[in-house]
Symmetry: D2
Subunit: 296 residues, 4 copies
Amino acid sequence: MAQVAFIGLGNMGGGMAANLVKAGFDVNAFDLAPAALQGAVEAGCSAAASAVAAVANADYVVSMLPNGAIVESIYIDGDQLLDAIPQTALIIDCSTIAAQNSRRLSEEAQKRGISCIDAPVSGGVAAAEAGTLAFMCGGTEQAFEAARPILSAMGSKLFLAGGSGAGQVAKMCNNMLLAVHMIGTAESLQLGVDNGLDPAVLSEIMLNSSGSNWSLEKYNPYPGVMDNVPASRNYEGGFMNMLMLKDLGLALDAATGSKSSVPMGSLARSLYALHAGKGNELRDFSSIIEQFKKSP
Amino acid sequence: MAQVAFIGLGNMGGGMAANLVKAGFDVNAFDLAPAALQGAVEAGCSAAASAVAAVANADYVVSMLPNGAIVESIYIDGDQLLDAIPQTALIIDCSTIAAQNSRRLSEEAQKRGISCIDAPVSGGVAAAEAGTLAFMCGGTEQAFEAARPILSAMGSKLFLAGGSGAGQVAKMCNNMLLAVHMIGTAESLQLGVDNGLDPAVLSEIMLNSSGSNWSLEKYNPYPGVMDNVPASRNYEGGFMNMLMLKDLGLALDAATGSKSSVPMGSLARSLYALHAGKGNELRDFSSIIEQFKKSP
Amino acid sequence: MAQVAFIGLGNMGGGMAANLVKAGFDVNAFDLAPAALQGAVEAGCSAAASAVAAVANADYVVSMLPNGAIVESIYIDGDQLLDAIPQTALIIDCSTIAAQNSRRLSEEAQKRGISCIDAPVSGGVAAAEAGTLAFMCGGTEQAFEAARPILSAMGSKLFLAGGSGAGQVAKMCNNMLLAVHMIGTAESLQLGVDNGLDPAVLSEIMLNSSGSNWSLEKYNPYPGVMDNVPASRNYEGGFMNMLMLKDLGLALDAATGSKSSVPMGSLARSLYALHAGKGNELRDFSSIIEQFKKSP
Amino acid sequence: MAQVAFIGLGNMGGGMAANLVKAGFDVNAFDLAPAALQGAVEAGCSAAASAVAAVANADYVVSMLPNGAIVESIYIDGDQLLDAIPQTALIIDCSTIAAQNSRRLSEEAQKRGISCIDAPVSGGVAAAEAGTLAFMCGGTEQAFEAARPILSAMGSKLFLAGGSGAGQVAKMCNNMLLAVHMIGTAESLQLGVDNGLDPAVLSEIMLNSSGSNWSLEKYNPYPGVMDNVPASRNYEGGFMNMLMLKDLGLALDAATGSKSSVPMGSLARSLYALHAGKGNELRDFSSIIEQFKKSP
């Protein structure tokens, strides 16, 4: 069976590695945190002594790391993993980082004859555990197809957005738009309520009209309108404000680089920074509606 | 057959009155503009000599007028139509106006024992002609049910949003949210393109992800991505920027009245004012994406 | 000595009427609230039994009322004060209201041969008591000159902005700009502090550079940087958030009417609505900086 | 006389180097562009064959480079200038770059025993030539004092903002605030004009009221109100939109790093991106007012 090296076993990576084991892959796992590594072992992975050790005979190297500086440090400048990875291996970096970081990784890999795709995910911890993540990928069609067995074991939706880095761009565009319609939905619902409407009735009307969007359909931010969403459990679980803030930061960095005007996305970032800064970093991102409610 | 008085035969009202005729109603129509009145006659309406004459024996009074000042002037302060309408009639005002204008009309009607609902529409001229408008209504359930035969002859979706004025509030909330996700969609697509993505590929990915919304699904603003939308015919037809600007103005007036914070909606109004002010008043509202494109 | 009728003796009007007495005018005062009227009597005014009674022999009618609906009701539609005011009198309305309300008052006055100017103030309660208000006036030059003795008794800066209503427009433009640079100053200072700078040092640098503005010079929002400003007394006193919110609402109403794009002013209104809605209605408007501080 | 190495002789650097010559310093200049180098020679500098050659016996190294990547490349990663600079020299980097780039340069210099300050300027090409720049510096007080003779030869205002990188932070905060009040001034003036006011009269009123700010006082954006400003010469000369956009990008990068909410600054960046993107990159930044004017 194919050998997978898995680097980065946090909340997301842990579930993803476990799903690779379930799908029958031999997984050599590594994480600097012993507890995370122990969890992976319990899920059926082998514990590697280092990142370099993990990749020794890998057919696939999968990584899930917190930011671009760490990705560059592990693969290129610090651990120099690229020099230890077999030329026949395929790198699948699932970290959410700047497109330019992904492009540098890909170029450095290519210099050594190694294929690489960026494959950031959407769906959160629950989807990581359930194997229902969405992957937005950047790379060649050939590399994307080669990655399919691995990605299919961890997710249910696979998209090829374009060449190297395109997966990152697609994810940041999507999440910026998500932030915009979540806030737009929140302030529209609250405006309706402030003017005497029932939030459930207004939600139903807009859901069947041109205001319809994913936030309204799957993730209504107004408490009590929809069951089984964070708004109905005090915004616990779900997609944390600090992660939305991170993704919006990446989107704005990209906009700065390309001199793009993104007024709604910029405003969304500042509103999430304001909201997260008031002690809400760990709460679900639909809690932004609380900023629009009057309180004594 | 029931008698309908129809006041206001513009682009929208003309098509609506014609559909009432087709459904078998006797329609006494009035408009200050002779050409508009003539068009209604050709569609099978009787021409009334004045608004007061039109309502003489009406079972229903339907009005479609451009703003709240005109609605108040015709019904209350100027023509004093309320004093000429039979007590047994039902007033269905389809104008898009401030909720407070609708509430005043309803209160004044009630003083005279006349029932009244506000029933602003969405769908535009094409839907007015096709009889597929959506109506967002405010009034009692009884009045809403009484209006159903009339509304069904002109539209395909009927919503009761709450008491008097609630139809207006629902419409302005919906259209504010529409403006927000249209602009958000436009700037997200352009950010993706500025960073090397194909707009059709990015659209497909976001449509199947959490960025999904009505603008992306039915009304893609990027030229060439979707057939049969304004973006594919130089933004002709569709929903004009000046009308979106008007609706956003109503939403902000409501927000001012209720001291509500609507940062995304406010920004949308200013961006539509900027865009409309550059000679785009009559073009479709998805043309806002042109503001985000670089040009020499 | 000239006779002045003074209508509206709230926090602002009370101090203004007292200064007219001090300057030697005979002041016939009226307010619906007995306590307010009593205060004016203690300051040397005569108490009138009604607004109509107050204006009987007036050379000047000065009014300071909370909103446009009340101004129109007292002068025109309700008390019909215009029919009781001598033709030789000059009306000086100091209320902060929409320009269209001021223009209607002026037109109705003119029909009866009475001169009228709008003269909204800036400076707050302290300046009203000290007689150091600024007046931004709209009307003819002749009426402005005729008003000068009265205005000089209550204020230290007199501006003629243009014809009827222009005083209102000038005030709302000024206060919108004030809100914009106050928020801009607040977020710039906080960004500096978040990146390691001393707020006093940064304030000094920007005050001597192109970032300089009235908020930085007279009203630093960062606690401890400047003495004798609201920021140094927990934002008590000063110019209340609810009043800034009201003025921004008037500015946006004007922008809606003239189809103007005011993105910064719109955002300022939403941020003040958010801030006021969190229990800060009565605190000074420089407290907006608290929204940009992180708190647990 | 003291030896100065000057690296980077563009529009700004050329004038600055010339002023050092005028003040009596021996200036060894270097630039990759032969024409720029030739200009410096004509101003009295000696031409160095390389950056490394220029610094050989320097008492001061002054650099004026376009971005942080180039600064890091020349001093550290590429040319490794730090290894060629005498330990007794003082580095004065006048480039406008991210604070983190300045801090890395300072740390690397310190490792080699070399002192370093960041000293970004404000004032533009005219001030560079006239020797009236403002310098916002980051570093120790000792280094700042040591730099004073050099800075005084090129500028008229010297500020010490704090430790290493603080000069960059101060400049980006100041310029963000400048952008905010410039746009606020522009939209307030245009709102007034759209509502019937004379822009000169309104400017005068706000300048004497709480709306007062540097843009209104020194740099009125409305054509015809003030002489000798870019608005009176079709926005030629002055501070280019592309440079303001760059500075706002640096400010937002800092805000992303510190998780700060900067709603006004963010909106300013998007409006400048929109404006620059319409062919206005090289025009003065006060031309932003054109976005708020209606045009056919």
